[in-house]
Symmetry: C2
Subunit: 234 residues, 2 copies
């Protein structure tokens, strides 16, 4: 497998970085090829803007997704976006590795999603969910949280974590056609012992060693909807 | 009321910008004070990093939320963050006005959330949800979407919009203690007629004129949980 790890944490020595390194070494030991995009180290620009296009289809009025479609065809999309898109298209497995900020990704990583998941390649028209542009790839969220595990789940104070992660799991990764695996979660990270952290690393290693055997989460399929995307009778 | 509109769209002539202007003129006509943070126009920096702190509590290892708590006390937090925080604390109503990117806010606005909703002021320790630091304020998402209304809801292809917006509605705005109002949504914006757009603007104006009368959405209250945040019997 080719694996792309997109990592976003402002502290180079963070435990989130240790998860990144664990993933790289475990997957390489299994014979997989691994590339890492370390967004803070790369000084990645997270801001989608008109500057992302060398030539504009419509120089008067920016429709970002439309310019993405045109730009990726005519080679006019910004070099940093094209570089990440090439890595993404090369990958069989995409890992987004991050600390949870506001029950979501840090802006740095949101800006990778906004700019790199290009319309016309990753999705577009009726190409989404099981018809998405990235069908055939797998995707995994690997994340660290300040909260404790019992604060998530049915009836818990924050509800199920998967519900908080819905725009990422369903609205982003499943939307572009990826088979989305259950997130890997390291809980309460700023407050736990070194032993507990090593426990999470071992757990992550064991999981990655058998990642091929995992069943993906279930999301909508376009055949369940009509041409106007109204649901068909079950 | 004091109102802060945080606006993030890369196209200055966008319909999202028209919603921003509609909100400003309607609310000012009602006698409210309005400030606008136009993040693209301000060239806002969305990246949470060590550079946000003039002095560091721990210069060796960055725990962002911890440095926020210290920085906001000792005046060492970056001037752009302090400026936005001052506006936020001044406001009785916060409006986040944006185009939906990946069922969430653009990275530009996510970075406003990451950097401005400072630990120690907006939340911290047991100060969240109905005990959050921004108790007494109201909050409204005002958003534009490419999708059509029938693509959202129970059984619809993307499920309920409120579920996709959960990390914003519950995980961010309710978390810091705001009374969160039902989002204002303009559907299918890139594809609709001028008449339809004017319809949305009129609908938004009518809603804002009676915003005082609205009942907020319902979220957890800390009294429903014990000291360790396990749920208490109902």
């Amino acid at each position: 497998m080719n694996v792309l790890i997109v990592h976003a944490h402002p502290e180079p020595q963070s435990f989130t970085a240790a998860l990144r390194d664990q993933a790289r070494s475990t997957l390489e030991a299994q014979g997989h090829q691994v590339q890492v995009s370390d967004l803070y180290a790369m000084d990645w620009n997270p801001v989608a803007s008109a500057a992302d296009f060398a030539r504009r289809d419509n120089p008067e009025y920016l429709v970002y997704a439309l310019e993405q479609r045109v730009g990726v065809k005519n080679g006019g999309i910004a070099a940093d976006i094209q570089g990440e898109l090439d890595k993404l298209l090369w990958a069989d497995l995409l890992i987004l590795n991050f600390p949870v900020y506001w029950f979501s990704v840090p802006a740095m990583l949101k800006g990778w999603i906004d700019r790199v998941l290009v319309s016309g390649v990753c999705y577009g028209g009726k190409r989404f969910y099981d018809q998405g542009g990235l069908v055939g790839k797998k995707a995994l969220l690997s994340l660290t949280l300040g909260g404790r595990e019992h604060m998530f789940g049915q009836g818990a104070i924050h509800g199920p974590l998967e519900d908080m992660l819905r725009p990422l799991l369903r609205g982003t990764l499943a939307y572009v056609g990826c088979q989305v695996l259950e997130p890997f979660v390291a809980w309460h990270v700023p407050y736990i012992s070194q032993d507990a952290r090593e426990g999470f690393l071992a757990q992550y290693r064991q999981r990655l060693e058998r990642i091929d055997e995992e069943q993906p989460l279930v999301f909508p399929r376009l055949e369940q909807f009509d041409d106007a995307l109204y649901p068909l009778p079950a």
